[in-house]
């Protein structure tokens, strides 16, 4: 891997680590010093240190080295977890983040900050170490390592290529990392390549290692230590657990990954299921290894058991290799290519339709089979793009903590449904809207502790970030147990801004929807966080751009819930193809309620509402698609045309079209702003015959009409 490659991999890895770190540090504060979290934070800092060194980012390496020492003292109980130390660690993380990702980094300022932070670290360490008895210089004191009680044994052989130093890599740093990832059972330093002093080229690497490490980590984690050097150097990692006779704490540990030994032996028909059951019962009572019992009972030979164990190892290795990092652009390209295949497929279907012999039948059959495969292919790619929302939610722990401190409030962030999966692109784009909503909860929702006590509430408020799947969509809620929205104030503000007539009887939902209008805010004072009249309209716009909707529910005195509904993916929709004139349009199937041919007498014009049709006793606005797009239609009489009733955010409209063509999965191609500024169009799709069809954005269309 080139130096730039190493740096890029490190920067991607560091971003994830820093995000996890922030969340863990805030949780550490909330937990009052949970040892597991401390250990995790230490390991993150240790990885940042090691990897930054390997990537040649020495400023970060040196800084994190000092930070690691501080964490080491925290881990050892020499320093206690309090506000000051949490602040210091968070600020240190900020410094690292800035150093790594700020494009306009001011080195002088950064150095100043670093100096101040290191001074604070030294102060803490000084206090922490004051009582320590100094060790005699002669005594070799090895740095304290993380204690592992693992039962995996790995034989690691690492021989580095001689010019490795030229790539800015220090193998010793890697070996230090390896040694820190478990207990070193044995270590052999391979010095045979080291020449005589006089023949030595000091810029070449001659030393290699062979280690046996005992650890609770899976092999993939040990492999990660060698992430940057795996390709070009002789690195072998072998699971040698079975060579070490130490019994596992739990008989299940030997089979925690992949298939169980007994399962493999049954599959290979070495033993029967009944035999396996009896052996398992014996194992429970005797606490012996399964393989040993099988041999003792004469159910299989030692050779058979060993072969099954080898198979088990192979499966384990396969599992360890089953995750890789993939550039998301590659996934996007894959999706686009698949879109092209779908287009080609539609073109072939069109040709098959026009053929009129046995070949057409055969071609159609082949295309049906291909369609099934491409659909599955599509689902698989979409599955790869799906990632859990948890890490995005976790980032807000720090934000809530700092923001709450700024406004002297006590606020707890509760995360629910973090494992709910959503398309990566959608996740990336909900970050800002979520931040706006959390800001509102902190600034205007949650009351100060005194007010909360007066209202009979817990002095600490709660903000809940919740995600869940429902009906093919993902819902994300930001809920708080604050004072809720004052409807009287919304109404008052609405009247002031001319949005509500003083005598108008307006419902609660309509009143709350005013909060999503640009420049509408009920905040009496402009806070640091929000209350500037921007925010909820931006949230709404951003969510709608994602083909989602946002709803606000509030109970005065009890809190507010903002509910966002999002599609699982932005890449594909199920669409209904409709025609108007010579053009074809796509209506998202999720928005379609029904299709009707209205009677002449059901079409009317109502003052203030324009043209409407009566559908099941309810008047629905009629939109003539040909009028909307300024084209010529075949049918201009609604009673001769078809009307597709669509719905968005509880509002229904009827789209008048010439004909319905059919349903199809559509791979969306985005339209740049310069092609259309209409909110009624969300994108386009290429049809089988190569024609472009516009995709109608029902939500945008209704908003535009309103």
């Amino acid at each position: 891997m080139s130096e730039t490659g190493i740096r890029d991999v490190f920067l991607a890895e560091a971003r994830e680590i820093l995000e996890s770190l922030e969340s863990d540090i805030v949780q550490l504060e909330e937990s009052g010093g949970n040892q597991d979290i401390i250990n995790r934070i230490f390991r993150y800092i240790h990885t940042l240190k090691g990897s930054s060194g390997i990537a040649g980012i020495n400023r970060v390496y040196e800084f994190t080295h000092r930070l690691e020492n501080l964490l080491d003292d925290v881990r050892a109980g020499k320093l206690s977890v309090d506000d000051r130390i949490i602040d210091l660690i968070l600020k240190s993380i900020d410094w690292v983040q800035n150093e790594l990702y700020c494009e306009t980094l001011d080195i002088e300022k950064s150095d100043e900050k670093k100096g101040a932070l290191l001074l604070q670290i030294d102060e803490f360490m000084g206090t922490g170490k004051a009582d320590q008895v100094k060790q005699p210089a002669s005594e070799l004191k090895l740095p304290q390592k993380i204690i592992y009680h693992g039962s995996n044994y790995y034989n690691v052989r690492a021989v580095f290529k001689q010019d490795i130093f030229e790539f800015g890599i220090d193998p010793l740093m890697i070996i230090e990392d390896l040694a820190a990832s478990g207990d070193v059972v044995s270590r052999k330093v391979l010095k045979s390549r080291l020449p005589k002093f006089s023949d030595l080229d000091p810029e070449k690497c001659y030393i290699g290692w062979e280690f046996v490490i005992k650890t609770d980590k899976p092999m993939s984690k040990i492999r990660d230590v060698f992430l940057f050097v795996m390709d070009d150097n002789e690195i072998t990692i072998e699971d040698v657990t079975q060579n070490y006779s130490e019994p596992a704490d739990d008989p299940d540990i030997e089979i925690y990954e992949g298939k169980k030994l007994g399962e493999i032996m049954v599959e290979k028909k070495i033993i029967s299921e009944k035999d396996l059951e009896s052996v398992i019962n014996l194992q429970d009572s005797k606490n012996e290894k399964l393989g040993d019992i099988i041999i003792k009972k004469g159910l299989a030979s030692e050779k058979d058991v060993n072969e099954a164990l080898k198979d088990q190892e192979k499966i384990k290795k396969k599992l360890e290799f089953s995750t890789i990092r993939v550039d998301t652009n590659k996934l996007d390209n894959l999706m686009n290519l698949l879109g092209e295949i779908v287009i080609g497929q539609s073109a072939l279907s069109g040709i098959a339709e026009e053929m009129d012999d046995e070949s057409a039948f055969l071609l159609k059959n082949a295309l049906y089979a291909l369609d099934r495969t491409t659909r599955e292919f599509q689902e698989q790619i979409m599955g790869i793009r799906m990632i859990p929302v948890g890490p995005t939610f976790e980032q807000f722990r720090r934000f809530v903590r700092d923001s709450a401190h700024n406004v002297q409030k006590e606020i707890r962030l509760v995360i629910e449904g973090g494992d709910t999966e959503l398309d990566k692109t959608v996740i990336e784009r909900i970050n800002d809207p979520l931040k706006h909503m959390i800001r509102n909860s902190i600034d205007h929702g949650i009351e100060i502790p005194e007010e909360r006590i007066k209202a009979g509430k817990d002095p600490a408020g709660t903000v809940i970030l919740r995600a869940y799947h429902q009906e093919g969509n993902v819902f994300i809620e930001v809920a708080d147990d604050g004072k809720g929205v004052s409807l009287a104030r919304v109404r008052e503000k609405g009247i002031k801004q001319g949005l509500v007539r003083p005598e108008e009887d307006i419902g609660k939902d309509k009143l709350l929807s005013l909060l999503f209008l640009p420049g509408f805010s009920t905040a009496s004072a402009i806070g640091d966080l929000s209350g500037r009249g921007v925010g909820m309209d931006v949230v709404k716009t951003n969510i709608e751009e994602l083909r989602g909707t946002v709803q606000l529910k509030s109970e005065e005195g009890n809190g507010t819930v903002v509910k966002i509904k999002l599609p699982l993916t932005l890449a594909i929709i199920d669409g209904m193809l409709v025609s108007s004139g010579k053009n074809i349009y796509i209506v998202p199937l999720l928005s379609v309620v029904e299709s009707i041919q209205p009677k002449k007498e059901d079409v009317r014009t109502v003052e203030g509402k324009g043209e409407v049709i009566l559908v099941r006793g309810e008047y629905v606005s009629l939109i003539r698609l040909y009028d909307l797009f300024g084209i010529e239609a075949k049918q201009t009489d609604p009673s001769q045309a078809l009307v597709v009733i669509v719905e968005s955010a509880n509002t229904r409209v009827g789209l008048m079209v010439d004909d319905l063509i059919g349903q199809q999965q559509i791979v969306i191609k985005s339209l740049e702003n310069y092609i259309t500024r209409s909110r009624a169009v969300s994108g386009a799709a290429i049809l089988g015959d190569g024609k472009v069809a516009l995709i109608i954005d029902i939500h945008g269309l209704i908003s535009e009409l309103e």
């Binding site: 330093v189 030595l200 000091p202």
Partner: protein, 82 residues
């Protein structure tokens, strides 16, 4: 005596090698002072090992002085008995 820098490593290794060459040719004990050193890299560790072998072959004592604990651990990982 050779006094090593705070972050002695690959960038200074050629200079250190030349310095050691001269010192190893000089009579008497060779002292390498680690008191300023915070950490070393593998190039330094293997140079120290090679220099140690050379001096042992020539019956010239080498003394490593004031090695910080972290550096001791690094040398230990490289198989140096301290």
């Amino acid at each position: 005596m050779i006094l090593l820098d705070e972050d002695v490593g690959i960038k200074q290794i050629k200079g250190l090698y030349e310095l050691l060459k001269i010192e190893l040719d000089e009579p008497g004990e060779l002292v390498i002072d680690f008191s300023n050193v915070r950490r070393i890299d593998l190039s330094v560790a293997q140079l120290i090992i090679a220099a140690g072998r050379e001096s042992a072959a020539n019956d010239k004592p080498v003394k490593l002085k004031s090695i910080p604990d972290d550096v001791k651990y690094q040398l230990h990982l490289c198989g140096l008995k301290l």
